[in-house]
Symmetry: D2
Subunit: 98 residues, 4 copies
Amino acid sequence: MKVIADLSVVPIGVGVSLSKYIAACERVLREAGLSIRLHGYGTNIEGEWDEVFAAIRRCHEVVHEMGAPRISTTLRLGTRTDRSQTIDEKVRSVETKL
Amino acid sequence: MKVIADLSVVPIGVGVSLSKYIAACERVLREAGLSIRLHGYGTNIEGEWDEVFAAIRRCHEVVHEMGAPRISTTLRLGTRTDRSQTIDEKVRSVETKL
Amino acid sequence: MKVIADLSVVPIGVGVSLSKYIAACERVLREAGLSIRLHGYGTNIEGEWDEVFAAIRRCHEVVHEMGAPRISTTLRLGTRTDRSQTIDEKVRSVETKL
Amino acid sequence: MKVIADLSVVPIGVGVSLSKYIAACERVLREAGLSIRLHGYGTNIEGEWDEVFAAIRRCHEVVHEMGAPRISTTLRLGTRTDRSQTIDEKVRSVETKL
């Protein structure tokens, strides 16, 4: 099952500068071979369900290893059985109607 | 790794009455032996990371099998390494300060 | 326009104990006269759109005044024009199908 | 109070093709003069709190007027008092650490 996800990871207990933790998480997602797209409040991820969730778990592990005692993550998850659609196709589908 | 999650599943393309799909998803979570708590805009889930995510995947599969061609889910995910905390403890921790 | 919302406020830069900030936010929502329901990963809120959002803004202001330099909040928002539905009705609608 | 938001609007009860509703919402945000950035699972929005929320309310109204009887929206909301930061600065702050 393919999934398009949108991930926003918030490390808690490490002060207000979070970008190094977010960058570490991005590297985990890239190393997992996932198709990703960073934006201003999270990251779009496209891939097989199990691969996406294994990478998100690894992301939590890495951010804890970096010293964050607590993490609060939000995820949006889209699956569909009617047809396949990539992140780029989703964006274009809206842009052509603007 | 333990996780406290909050799951809200929105089936798309099946009209406006969504409760039978949500109920099917609740049954999946219960059958997985997870500790859950239904509320007005989702369900709190407490358990081991891999068990929680296997159940959420199964929930998507079941809702698709019921006829929903598309699903958009939102998840909040909390993990912590400083101490363990249950859903009930989280709620009490706020209530005692009201 | 009526809205049913689900609010989760995460203060950043104040350590790992967040419950006193969450409790302050709960008091703001109550004082605004909104119908609310605390759960393990947020709070259900029911009310008129403008009243709900004025209270959420006030909640951010109060948490900043308490010393949190940064806040990351997640919200789910449901509106409908086909019929009115309360939080309790939403929960019962699922529970009767379990 | 400035806010950086991330908005994902899901119209319910209008089938599986949602892009025309999302595009209508984008136009509302642009016409409100807000700085926005469309991505694969939502839209980053930057602006003054009250202007951002007036536009999101207008977006719900327009999508209902287009025929959607029900809408389920998710929002992430970031405010900070320590310094100001734009969407582009947030993205660059992560990218320079990759």
